[in-house]
C-alpha cells in the first residue's frame, strides 16, 4: 500500500462528508443544528448560515415536527438510535422534501449527550410508492366492504323480486280462473239468444260476440298456462299411450282456416298416425304455431302443415311464406310476452310460441325455427 493512496483516502474524508450522496446533520442536545453537509444544503436550497444555529424542528414539516417530538426524540433517548424513519424536510421555499432518516446519538464518555446525528436519504419515489400501497390497501378494504354490502343488497332484492313474481303468477292464475265463470255465463246467454228469432243485424252481433268470447277464452287459457308453467315448473300434460293424432290436427287446421280464410292451410299427414302424447296439448301446440304463421306470414300465401314419423321421432312442421325472421328476433322467439313486429291489430299477449315450446318440452321434445328468404318453418320434434 503506497503512501500516496493512503493520503488520497485521508483527503477524501472531508469531501466524502460534504458531498456524500446523502444529507448529514448534527443536532445538539438542545435541538439546535450544529453541523450539516453540502449535499443537504444543495437539496434544501438553504445556506449554511441559515441552517447552523437554527432549531432542527424548523427544518421539519408540521407533521414531522410533531412526530419528532412524540416518537423520534423519545426513541433516540431510550435506545440511542433510530432507523428508517420518514421525515419531510422543508426546502428554502417551504417545499416538502420526502426523506428517510437514520439517527444515532453521540454521547461523551460520561454518558452526556453531545449530538444526535442524522443521515438523510431522498425518498420521494419510495414514499410515493408507499402511499400507493396504502391507498391500494384502503381501496381493497373499501371494495371488499362495499362488495359485501352490494351482494347482500342484490340477494335481498332478488328474493323480493322472486316473491313478487310468485305473487304475480298466483294472481294471474286466480284472475284467469275467475274470469272463466262470467265468460261461461255470457256464452250460455248467447246460446239462448241463438234460439230466439233475431233480425239479420242481431245475428251479426251475436256472431261477433261469439268470436270475441273465443278470443277471450283463448287469452285466459294462455295466461293460465303461463301461470301453471311458472308456478308448477312446467305445463301439465296428460299422456295417452296410443293417441290418434290425425283427427286432432285436422280439426285444428279446420278451425284456424275458418278464422283466417285469406291464407290456405294445407295438411299433409298419414291418416292413421298413433303416438304417445297429450293430443289436446299437441292440438294446442299446432294451433299456436298456426296462429303465429297467420299473424306473421305473407297474407294470401299458403301455410303448409306436415306431420309424420322421421327417424324415431314424431315431427310436425308449419311453414309459411313472408319476410324472414331477423337474427335478433330469433333468439327471443320462445320467451314469454315476446312480440315480433306484428301489426298492432294482431298483437296478442306474446305467449303463443312460449306455450308451444313448453308443451314440446313437457313431451321431451323441442321446437326449432328456421327462416330464409322464401319461407319460415317451425319444426316440432319429439322422440317416440
Amino acid at each position: 500500500m503506497s503512501d500516496a493512496f493512503a493520503t488520497n483516502v485521508h483527503e477524501d474524508l472531508e469531501d466524502l462528508y460534504e458531498t456524500a450522496p446523502c444529507g448529514y446533520l448534527s443536532v445538539t442536545a438542545d435541538g439546535v443544528i450544529a453541523k450539516c453537509n453540502q449535499t443537504l444544503l444543495t437539496w434544501t436550497g438553504r445556506s449554511r448560515d441559515e441552517l447552523i444555529g437554527a432549531r432542527f424542528s424548523t427544518l421539519l414539516s408540521i407533521g414531522s415536527r410533531i412526530y419528532n417530538e412524540t416518537h423520534l426524540a423519545p426513541l433516540l433517548r431510550m435506545q440511542g438510535h433510530v432507523s428508517e424513519v420518514a421525515l419531510d424536510i422543508l426546502s428554502h421555499g417551504g417545499i416538502k422534501l420526502p426523506m428517510l432518516a437514520n439517527a444515532a446519538e453521540k454521547r461523551s464518555d460520561d454518558g452526556k449527550l453531545l449530538f444526535t446525528r442524522f443521515t438523510l436519504l431522498e425518498a420521494s419515489d419510495r414514499r410515493r410508492y408507499e402511499h400507493d400501497l396504502i391507498a391500494a390497501r384502503d381501496n381493497a378494504v373499501e371494495r371488499a366492504r362495499s362488495g359485501k354490502a352490494l351482494e347482500a343488497a342484490i340477494s335481498t332484492e332478488l328474493e323480493d323480486e322472486r316473491a313478487t313474481a310468485t305473487l304475480r303468477d298466483q294472481f294471474i292464475a286466480v284472475l284467469g280462473h275467475d274470469l272463466r265463470n262470467p265468460l261461461a255465463a255470457i256464452e250460455s246467454g248467447l246460446h239462448l239468444l241463438r234460439k230466439e228469432e233475431l233480425g239479420s243485424r242481431g245475428e251479426r252481433v251475436v256472431e261477433l260476440m261469439e268470436g270475441s268470447i273465443r278470443r277471450a277464452a283463448r287469452l285466459i287459457d294462455d295466461v293460465m298456462d303461463l301461470a301453471r308453467i311458472r308456478l308448477g315448473g312446467g305445463i301439465g300434460i296428460h299422456r295417452s299411450r296410443r293417441a290418434s293424432i290425425g283427427p286432432t290436427l285436422r280439426q285444428v287446421v279446420n278451425e284456424m282456416q275458418a278464422i283466417s280464410p285469406t291464407s290456405a292451410i294445407t295438411l299433409d299427414a298419414p291418416p292413421a298416425l298413433e303416438i304417445e302424447c297429450d293430443p289436446a296439448r299437441i292440438g294446442q301446440l299446432l294451433s299456436n304455431l298456426l296462429g303465429n304463421a297467420i299473424t306473421h306470414g305473407a297474407p294470401g300465401y299458403p301455410i303448409r302443415v306436415s306431420a309424420g314419423i322421421d327417424a324415431g321421432e314424431f315431427v310436425l312442421t308449419v311453414t309459411n311464406s313472408g319476410d324472414p325472421i331477423p337474427e335478433q328476433t330469433m333468439r327471443h322467439l320462445f320467451q314469454p310476452f315476446f312480440r315480433g313486429a306484428a301489426r298492432p291489430s294482431q298483437q296478442g299477449l306474446g305467449l303463443g310460441l312460449h306455450i308451444a315450446s313448453e308443451i314440446a318440452k313437457a313431451h321431451g321434445g323441442v321446437i326449432t325455427a328456421s327462416s330464409a328468404e322464401s319461407a319460415t318453418t317451425f319444426r316440432f320434434a319429439m322422440p317416440l
Binding site: G63, I66, Y67, A73, P74, R77, I134
Partner: protein, 262 residues
C-alpha cells in the same frame, strides 16, 4: 380480561401512597423509565399503557370509546379503583395531563395532587387563544402518521401483543417502545390534537404542578401560562430542558421538581 392486564399495569415501590404515571401520545410507559424508579422508595409506583399503546390489549381498542379523552380517563379511574388508589399523586405527560384532570373530576378522592408535564388544554388556535397549531396542520399530522410505522408490522403484531408475559420477545424488536398500530395511532392523535379541555381546568380541586419546558413546539410556554392562570393555586415550574419529553431528556430536573412538589 382484567383492567390490570388490559392496560398492562405495572406496580412497584415500597411506599403506601400511590403515584400513578401516565404516558402521552407516541410511546408507552417506558417514557417514565428514568423518572418513576426515583419514587419507588417512598411511593407505590403505578405505571400503565393506554389501550392501543405499548403492551396493552389491542382487542380492547374501541374506536367509539376512545374517540375522545374521556374514554382514556375512564380507564384511568378503573385502574385507580382496581388498585384502591386514594389521595394519590398523578403524573401525566403531554395529553395524559388532561386525561388525569378528567379522571380527577370523575373520581375526586383518587388524587390529591396532579403533576402535568407539558400539558395543553387545546392544541389548535382559537379566538384569542394560541395553542400553537392550525386545524389544517393537525390534519397534516394525521396524514403524515401513515408514513411511519416504526417497528409495526401487522403480521408480527399478534406474536408481540399475545406474549405480554414474555417481555424479552418484545424487547428484541427495535422501536418497540413506540410501536403502535398505525390506525390506532391516528385515532389517538385525533382524540389528542382535537381535544379542548380549557373549561375543565378551573374545575380542578387537587393541588397541581405544571412542568413547562423552555422550548416545546407541542406545548409552548404561553400554553403552560394559560393553564397556570386557569387553575388558581396551581404551581408553574419552567424547566431548563427543551423539547416535549423532559421525562427522557432531563429526568433529574423532572424528578427534583416533582419531589419538591409532593
Amino acid at each position: 380480561m382484567s383492567v390490570l392486564s388490559r392496560n398492562h399495569v405495572q406496580v412497584s415501590g415500597s411506599g403506601t401512597r400511590a403515584m400513578v404515571f401516565a404516558h402521552g401520545f407516541g410511546c408507552d410507559q417506558n417514557m417514565w423509565r428514568f423518572v418513576a424508579p426515583a419514587f419507588e422508595a417512598d411511593f407505590r409506583v403505578i405505571a400503565f399503557d393506554h389501550v392501543g399503546a405499548g403492551r396493552s390489549d389491542l382487542a380492547a381498542f374501541d374506536p367509539g370509546k376512545y374517540a375522545n379523552l374521556q374514554g382514556y380517563a375512564d380507564d384511568l379511574v378503573e385502574i385507580g379503583e382496581a388498585l384502591g388508589v386514594h389521595h394519590g399523586v398523578f403524573v401525566g405527560h403531554s395529553v395524559s395531563a388532561m386525561i388525569g384532570l378528567l379522571a380527577s373530576l370523575k373520581a375526586p378522592d383518587m388524587f390529591d395532587a396532579l403533576v402535568m408535564v407539558g400539558p395543553s388544554p387545546r392544541y389548535i388556535d382559537d379566538d384569542g387563544y394560541r395553542g400553537g397549531f392550525s386545524e389544517s396542520q393537525i390534519e397534516e399530522l394525521l396524514e403524515f402518521l401513515a408514513d411511519n410505522h416504526l417497528g409495526w408490522s401487522a403480521a408480527m403484531a399478534p406474536a408481540i401483543m399475545g406474549n405480554a408475559d414474555r417481555p424479552e420477545l418484545a424487547e428484541e424488536l427495535t422501536n418497540s417502545f413506540c410501536r403502535t398500530d398505525p390506525e390506532i395511532a391516528r385515532h389517538f392523535a385525533r382524540a389528542t390534537f382535537t381535544s379542548d379541555n380549557r373549561d375543565d381546568l378551573r374545575k380542578v380541586a387537587a393541588r397541581t404542578l405544571i412542568l413547562q419546558c423552555s422550548e416545546d413546539v407541542i406545548a409552548p410556554p404561553e400554553v403552560g401560562a394559560f393553564c397556570h392562570a386557569a387553575m388558581p393555586g396551581s404551581e408553574l415550574v419552567t424547566l431548563k430542558a427543551t423539547g416535549h419529553c423532559p421525562n427522557l431528556s432531563a429526568p433529574d430536573e423532572v424528578v427534583a421538581a416533582i419531589r419538591a412538589f409532593v
